[in-house]
Symmetry: D2
Subunit: 148 residues, 4 copies
């Protein structure tokens, strides 16, 4: 499964050349991850924090800014899970607009306790939830053997 | 040469777990690049834009978030040029605090016209300026042959 | 007429106490104004900038932060036009969540040329559009006599 | 006493018209308040949070954007305490650049517990510290009688 979300490239995201400023895309990517949790996985960030005491801090981010976008462009984001490790997972996040790919990112986050910031194994229900967004059944099996 | 700059991890950079929120570090990295231009290269962003009509849009960013930092930590940033291509260059940006490395990033930017967003060859004076921050003389020669 | 828009208070908006950080609400207010232009007035910011060469820079902002909001709260924003002057107008922006008012803001913006940043009189079509969000017919007449 | 602090108006603060974007100034004001605590009062935000369990959430903000500033302008901020109430205080924050006033703000913050977000009376040492930035001795006495 792939999670899709549209995001407007707003005035606040753009620099004096009138195009999206590169740090702002990281905020948009973060919004998409937040929306995916709530709408794709059925666990809002608030629930993740307050009910489960967990967060998803980033350990690695890679972004290719493939083409500039202008204020007013609607970016069609697509999020999939590329890999689930012992306590981390890598998300594949891409954005397209008007038929061209604008951005390709890989974000590795860790399931961690908000209290001590320690990583927690991704198990049971959590693993099952995240795994639904792995690209294909066989990859899911393979990814399960990769450690964080 | 290496450009060094201290940045306070501010309240505004931190999330509800009390640690630096990963998109905010991208803003800090951008500040360090801006300071490097003005203080390291002697060309402020304003001069770059207004006098030369140029900008440095990002085409690729990689960040490893090695360890969390807390509100009030002073991050010691170190910036070097890893590679200069025909019209792009890759910056190596690292941050340490209290003796541990917190962040390691590679940012590839393009020298581009603000008008048409087209890449411009990094030549003459510009190349000489950027090259002073390449790690060592022999690397400089090699890097010069890499195309953007 | 009143323009209504829901905004999620995101993780990125919250500070280490877990509540909305006051500068972030200004960004949310700006989003609501941007949405109002596109969805309420039928003129997107892009159209405003590119077709008309105009922008809406702020000249005054007042915000009362009436009650804290937490990550995950959905803020129901309501925007109305309080006053239209010669070239400026004051917007009344309020946010409620879970039955309580959280925020009350007044934002005065100027219709200005993007080229020279000079104020432009709010006339004809523009005035008619904005005036639809004035609170009541008699106020509209009064407001029309107030100068920027 | 008045606390002075210079802030560069950075690329990241500017919009597509090349001038400071109004929500970014609120972030700059917040930086100035944070710097004032650490450098003016001798209590960093970290100390305020971790040692004292206190924060300074905003309850009201007023900003007059008097003149636009461009990328590269150095804003000379001046912060004074206008009024100290029972548990709140109003800060007067102004910014000048190149001989003209650019911004005038009044920010009312509350001394509050980070745990329960409840206001705490500004007493003893805290009151003495803040009061050093009141405009004049007689105002200090008056302000002391104003309740939050």
């Amino acid at each position: 499964m792939i999670f899709h979300k549209d995001k407007l490239l707003r005035f606040a995201h753009c620099d004096l050349a009138g195009i999206g400023f590169y740090p702002r895309y990281v905020e948009l990517i973060n919004e998409v991850v937040e929306d995916w949790c709530a709408q794709g996985l059925g666990v809002s960030y608030r629930e993740l924090h307050e009910t489960h005491g967990l967060g998803l801090p980033a350990v690695r981010l890679e972004i290719d800014y493939l083409a500039p976008s202008r204020c007013g462009d609607v970016l069609n984001f697509a999020l999939a899970v590329e890999r689930i490790g012992r306590s981390s997972m890598t998300l594949d996040v891409r954005a397209r607009a008007d038929g061209s790919e604008r951005l390709r990112a890989r974000l590795t986050v860790v399931l961690a306790s908000l209290k001590d910031l320690r990583a927690r194994p991704i198990e049971g229900d959590w693993r099952a939830r995240f795994a639904r967004y792995l690209p294909a059944p066989e990859s899911s099996v393979e990814a399960g053997t990769v450690s964080a």
